[in-house]
């Protein structure tokens, strides 16, 4: 639709906005790939093939995250890191170790324990034109910042009628496993991914952590980046050369034809363990690491289903209204004809997170529960 704004006379006010200069010009469709609200924006070259996942440059998950932030901060001075203990303390989980020395206190910024305040403020900074990386010590603590991160960041572009975007990355630890009890063990993906306007990435290993975080920083939309404190010490090959992993592409970690295991983040490892054990019984599984939740690579899931006809979705958040529910709904919408068994999910148990080690282990999805679920869908019918 194209039409002409009427010629207004709104000159009574002191200021006559620049907008009035353009009032007689037709409103036309945006024709750029990236919304003009975020200004000139250069995306990384996603057509470049990704480097091999095999190699011996073994880095911890936390080091991979640090490399991603460091490289992007070296590339673009508008990128900076803010959060509790990120600077002088070198990071509550040592993710930002050494970054204060390299970038100085104007770009590696210790915040007070004030998530609502600093998350909200950084949304303002992102609108203004900066590219903040906001570290939540834990996503559990982001709940006190729910208003800015859910009401402002993902809706700013829409609410302003396309005038201001919000290029920001929120990142931090998500999920249980460290015996931290119910307040500190939040898995926010189900709740937060409900909101349109945000993107969400949940890496399961150092290689993906680096490549996805670099992409998150280069993305012009608010990205919620969920890490796991349980995995920060995990080691894996991280190539020397620069790479960006595109959002919305699941990674097939293991191949089999009996059942598809779909997961993201830490439970991908539980799936791999389960698949290993099932293989010993002659049950071979596809294991898909979704890597991003929004966008959700449903095509890869359906592709796998065409081979297996059976699927178990593994999610370390509560089952009701979870990402697992969404994946199952989309499987029913797009892959119904391929199913020989109804989709099954393995979530955490539907209770607050317990403290006691044994209770917590039983609460989380684990290899035992996954093996059991797969056996059931494979042997039935």
């Amino acid at each position: 639709m194209v039409f002409v704004w009427t010629k207004g006379e709104a000159k009574a006010g002191r200021g006559v906005s620049d907008a009035e200069m353009t009032r007689e010009s037709p409103m036309t469709m945006i024709d750029s790939a990236i919304h003009p609200a975020v200004g000139e924006w250069d995306l990384p070259d996603f057509s470049k093939p990704l480097p091999s996942r095999d190699g011996d440059r073994m880095l911890q998950f936390r080091e991979a995250l640090r490399e991603a932030m460091t490289e992007e901060m070296q590339r673009d001075e508008r990128v900076f890191l803010i959060g509790e203990e990120v600077a002088q303390y070198n990071g509550a989980y040592k993710i930002s170790q050494g970054m204060l020395d390299e970038f100085g206190e104007k770009r590696i910024i210790d915040s007070p324990i004030s998530e609502n305040g600093f998350a909200g403020a950084m949304i303002g900074a992102a609108m203004y034109g900066l590219r903040p990386i906001v570290e939540f010590m834990s996503w559990s603590f982001s709940l006190v910042a729910a208003d800015p991160i859910l009401n402002n960041a993902p809706k700013m572009l829409y609410m302003s009628g396309g005038q201001w975007g919000c290029p920001i990355v929120f990142r931090g630890n998500d999920g249980a496993g460290g015996q931290l009890g119910s307040t500190h063990s939040w898995c926010v993906e189900g709740m937060f991914s409900n909101v349109p306007g945000l993107k969400m990435a949940i890496p399961s290993n150092p290689y993906d952590a680096k490549g996805l975080l670099k992409t998150a920083i280069r993305d012009p939309d608010p990205v919620f980046f969920l890490e796991s404190e349980r995995m920060l010490g995990d080691k894996g090959h991280v190539p020397e050369e620069e790479y960006y992993i595109p959002f919305g592409q699941a990674n097939l970690m293991r191949e089999g034809d009996a059942c598809t295991l779909v997961s993201w983040g830490r439970p991908v490892h539980f799936c791999m363990d389960a698949a290993e054990r099932l293989a010993a019984e002659g049950i071979e599984c596809d294991v898909l690491d979704m890597r991003t939740i929004r966008p959700l690579d449903i095509e890869s899931v359906v592709e796998s289903l065409k081979k297996t006809s059976r699927v178990v979705v593994v999610d370390q958040s509560w089952p009701f209204g979870s990402v697992a529910s969404e994946v199952m709904a989309q499987i029913c919408e797009h892959g119904f004809d391929w199913l020989d068994h109804q989709p099954v999910r393995v979530n955490t148990r539907d209770v607050p997170t317990p403290y006691a080690k044994e209770l917590e282990a039983a609460y989380l999805p684990n290899a035992d529960r996954i093996v059991e679920a797969v056996r059931k869908v494979v042997t039935a019918g």
Binding site: T6, R14, S17, G117, A121, M122, M127, Y158
Partner: protein, 364 residues
């Protein structure tokens, strides 16, 4: 609540140095807001405007006096009672009215509504509907401006104006914002448009130590002042030096700007919580009437005739804005409902939507 009576004496009035044209411009700005709001109420009553709608009448001197103390490049952010700020900042009456009519020619293409006015060319970063939510944003806009100047070395020193109501001072977000602003020395001025009521709750009933709001700013080490916000010259006289200093020194400020709203909290307020006498009392020292009196009788720079012409002109502008809003097309569901959701849409972001870009906002 009774009107404040603080007045500076004639001699230390900084605004005395301003030209007649400037002050006449303020008069026009304030009258535009007043007239605009009358027509807004009318249109609301005719059900042409939906949702919540908060009228600015009575508070004109606040927006006009403070906004005219800063540069157009300075960021401004406010709450949901935002029509006055939008107009004072330079948004056209038509874009503002059309937004409330839910038309594509509205400043946010009809996606924001009365409470969410955005104007990029004039650096108005919204219109925010959640009480207090704009206060961390204000700190962040100031952070952005300071970072631009200090780290990137590309910008000039700026100062951000962040407006809030007296009800918003009770929000935790505001205290977090004050702490951040002071801690990082951010050039943001928190302007409390203290109209004495948070919806139907009088200030003494919603906040502790209500007679001493500036104690809160001071407790964070922020320079904090009270200003009679019912006199635009007074607002400028007191606010301008603060704004200049906050810009120069790149540090925050805090203002308890005492004012009054003539209308109910929103369009659906029977106003049982205040007396007619109280409203009349404030109206007796109306900010527009008192500026007009100054210009007519003290400066002698505007005649009865000129004023009457100005009133007519403004009436015409606003009437035409209403007509244009009425005549404008509604946003097209095909192009607008699922656009401006993502700056970089991709496949599979949603089970129901195929996000695309829509019409380019002419304010971009």
């Amino acid at each position: 609540m009774t009107p404040a009576t603080t007045k500076t004496t004639k001699n230390d009035r900084r605004s005395d140095d301003l030209s007649n044209e400037t002050l006449i411009g303020w008069l026009r700005d304030m009258q535009l807001i007043r007239e605009f709001e009358s027509r807004t109420m009318q249109a609301y009553q005719q059900a042409k405007i939906g949702g919540f709608c908060h009228i600015y009448s009575g508070q004109e001197a606040c927006a006009v006096g403070t906004i005219n103390s800063v540069e157009k490049s300075d960021p401004v952010v406010t709450a949901y009672r935002d029509h006055g700020h939008a107009l004072a900042r330079g948004m056209s009456a038509e874009a503002c009215m059309a937004e409330m009519f839910g038309k594509i020619t509205g400043c946010a293409k009809g996606k924001g509504g009365s409470m969410h006015m955005f104007d990029r060319p004039n650096n108005l970063y919204g219109g925010h509907g959640i009480v207090g939510a704009q206060t961390p944003l204000g700190a962040g806009l100031a952070f952005g401006a300071r970072y631009e100047w200090e780290v990137l070395g590309t910008g000039t020193k700026k100062v951000c104006l962040c407006y809030l109501g007296d009800g918003a001072i009770d929000q935790g977000a505001f205290h977090e914002a004050l702490n951040l602003a002071a801690l990082y020395s951010l050039p943001v001025i928190y302007i409390i448009e203290n109209n004495g009521y948070s919806m139907g709750t009088a200030i003494h009933r919603h906040t502790a130590n209500a007679d001493n709001l500036i104690a809160r700013g001071k407790s964070y080490g922020i320079e904090s002042i009270e200003i009679d916000g019912f006199d635009v010259r007074n607002v400028y006289d007191a606010f301008k030096p603060l704004a200049d200093d906050c810009r120069d020194m790149q540090r925050p400020g805090f203002v308890d700007l005492k004012t009054y709203r003539y209308q109910g909290h929103s369009m659906s307020d029977p106003q049982k919580y205040r007396t007619k006498d109280e409203v009349a009392d404030w109206k007796s020292r109306d900010p527009i009437a008192s500026l007009l009196h100054h210009l007519m009788n003290e400066r002698e720079c505007i005649s009865e005739d000129a004023w009457s012409t100005m009133e007519d002109e403004i009436k015409t502008v606003v009437r035409e804005a209403v007509e244009a809003a009425e005549a404008a097309p509604i946003p097209d569901v095909d192009t607008e409902l699922a656009s401006d959701v993502y700056a970089l849409p991709m496949d599979n972001l949603s089970p129901s939507e195929d996000y695309k870009h829509g019409l380019k906002n002419p304010l971009m």
